[in-house]
């Protein structure tokens, strides 16, 4: 069974239709790359999955449970949306780290706040917080940032900041990890370290959706690729097939602009 089922998503900003009839599904352990030019709607789609935008139509199901249905207001209650968000992790283009916290605190903060809702929090406060702390340190170590735990974001390079952001998203163990152009805000020489981390996540069978402009990366790392244009899905299929042998003319045109770069 698919871990994610997106059905007929449609989204308008005022009178502009930015998403139209978007449907796709994703299997557990698979990674999906979404490509397309700026303004094609791919970032909006990712924001819809994370409840940062509310689709005007359509539904989203995780593990077979409908977590959003535009025609059913019961699925849109604020208190429930907060829990449902945790199915997804999100890594932003501009990192959005919390500047007043150290790298480690950025990773552990949300989990600490969530743990306060546990019934046994009061009794086991110290143990729980210690565990979260240890887990945060381990995650940062996995990102190659063991030495940077106590640095503030402003003391880190862009690549390091984005790796902290990835650790922060992973800390809540999301079912699906979303990346919104994770390397676009980075200097070219810093993209490698971030892509390397994402590649290793893919190797560990992390379920991911990656909006990216890195075609070679999408081809080598993603299992599936969706090409979007003008708010619709133009083509989808296995990564290597879509990128190397696109069936649609629009896909071909788009990819030819990246040919030089490859």
């Amino acid at each position: 069974m698919a871990i994610l089922d997106v059905h007929n998503i449609e989204k308008h900003f005022g009178s502009t239709r930015v998403l139209e009839d978007i449907s796709f599904s994703l299997e557990k352990g698979q990674s999906l790359a979404i490509i397309g030019s700026s303004g094609s709607g791919k970032t909006t789609l990712l924001r819809c999955l994370n409840f940062l935008e509310k689709p005007d139509q359509g539904s989203i199901a995780v593990n077979g449970n409908v977590i959003f249905d535009a025609s059913d207001p019961a699925t849109q209650r604020e208190s429930e949306v907060r829990k449902k968000r945790l199915h997804f992790g999100m890594v932003f283009q501009s990192f959005n780290l919390f500047p007043q916290y150290t790298a480690l605190k950025n990773v552990t903060l949300a989990k600490e706040l969530l743990s306060q809702e546990r019934p046994d929090f009061k009794q086991n406060k110290k143990a729980i917080l210690d565990e979260i702390q240890a887990e945060g340190e381990a995650l940062l170590a996995k990102m190659g940032l063991a030495e940077r735990c106590n640095h503030y974001p402003s003391q880190l390079s862009g690549g390091q900041q984005q790796r902290v952001a990835i650790a922060r998203a992973l800390a809540l163990h999301p079912d699906i990890l979303c990346f919104d152009e994770p390397t676009s805000a980075l200097d070219p020489e810093l993209t490698g370290e971030v892509l390397k981390v994402i590649r290793s996540l893919a190797e560990q069978k992390t379920t991911m959706i990656i909006v990216t402009h890195e075609m070679a990366f999408a081809r080598d790392v993603a299992d599936e690729v969706i090409f979007m244009d003008g708010g619709v899905i133009v083509e989808k299929g296995p990564a290597r097939e879509v990128i190397e042998h696109p069936r649609e003319e629009r896909t071909r045109q788009f990819l030819s602009r990246y040919a030089d770069a490859n």
Partner: protein, 229 residues
């Protein structure tokens, strides 16, 4: 020179100015304690998505910021009694209460605009990052937005607070005997001394020392918040 500072006259004036300055300090601290939180509440009102509330709040802020504080003090102290709504407690305490209420309302409106700028100045991405991590609105405000907002508002807030130090002198319009009133009292007569102008100008020393201390403390706070950007 030394004789002057040890003279009875100087001691008498100093004692009077001290008692006046104590009231100046009271106005200052009561206003801060009341206006800092009230300003936050008003700023939420002025950013509310509920249009009538936003509209009413912004109109009130406009009216308060657009009229002189001295007029607000006079109105707040005399009108309730004249209109038989209620009377302020008699004596110094009633005047002090009325002055503080007027100052708190006035300064809360100024603070609310600074807060609004501070809150809206925090990038939207910070809120979104909190949202996708499953935080509640209040968790996002207290754990993420608040400190960044404070860092942003400290410089403009410092200006307002220094202005407040000096604005306290407006309280003498309803005969609250703060330090300027006491300074002036030696011109017309106080404790058998009259025709002295220097006590009035000597009050400047109090203001300078106090605003110096306030400036230093606010500077310290600003440096304390310099650990992040």
């Amino acid at each position: 020179m030394i004789e002057f500072f040890t003279s009875d006259t100087f001691q008498t004036v100093l004692a009077a100015l001290n008692s006046g300055f104590l009231k100046t300090l009271q106005i200052f601290f009561f206003t801060l304690v009341g206006a800092l939180p009230l300003g936050l509440v008003i700023s939420f009102g002025s950013m509310s998505r509920f249009t009538p509330l936003r509209w009413v709040t912004r109109t009130v802020v406009w009216a308060i910021r657009g009229t002189p504080l001295v007029l607000q003090i006079i109105a707040l102290f005399y009108v309730p009694g004249i209109q038989k709504w209620f009377t302020w407690p008699s004596g110094e305490s009633g005047r002090m209460t009325a002055v503080c209420v007027a100052f708190i309302i006035n300064y809360a409106c100024y603070f609310s605009e600074i807060y609004r700028g501070g809150i809206q100045g925090v990038p939207k991405g910070q809120q979104e990052a909190g949202q996708v991590l499953g935080m509640t609105k209040s968790q996002i405000f207290f754990h993420i937005t608040l400190l960044q907002m404070i860092k942003r508002i400290v410089p403009p807030m410092s200006n307002e607070i220094i202005t407040l130090v000096k604005d306290t002198s407006l309280a003498r319009v309803i005969a609250l005997q703060e330090v300027i009133w006491m300074g002036e009292s030696f011109m017309k007569g106080n404790s058998g001394i009259s025709g002295l102008v220097w006590p009035l100008f000597f009050t400047a020393v109090y203001y300078l020392v106090f605003s110096g201390i306030v400036t230093m403390l606010l500077g310290k706070l600003e440096r304390k918040l310099a650990f992040f950007q």
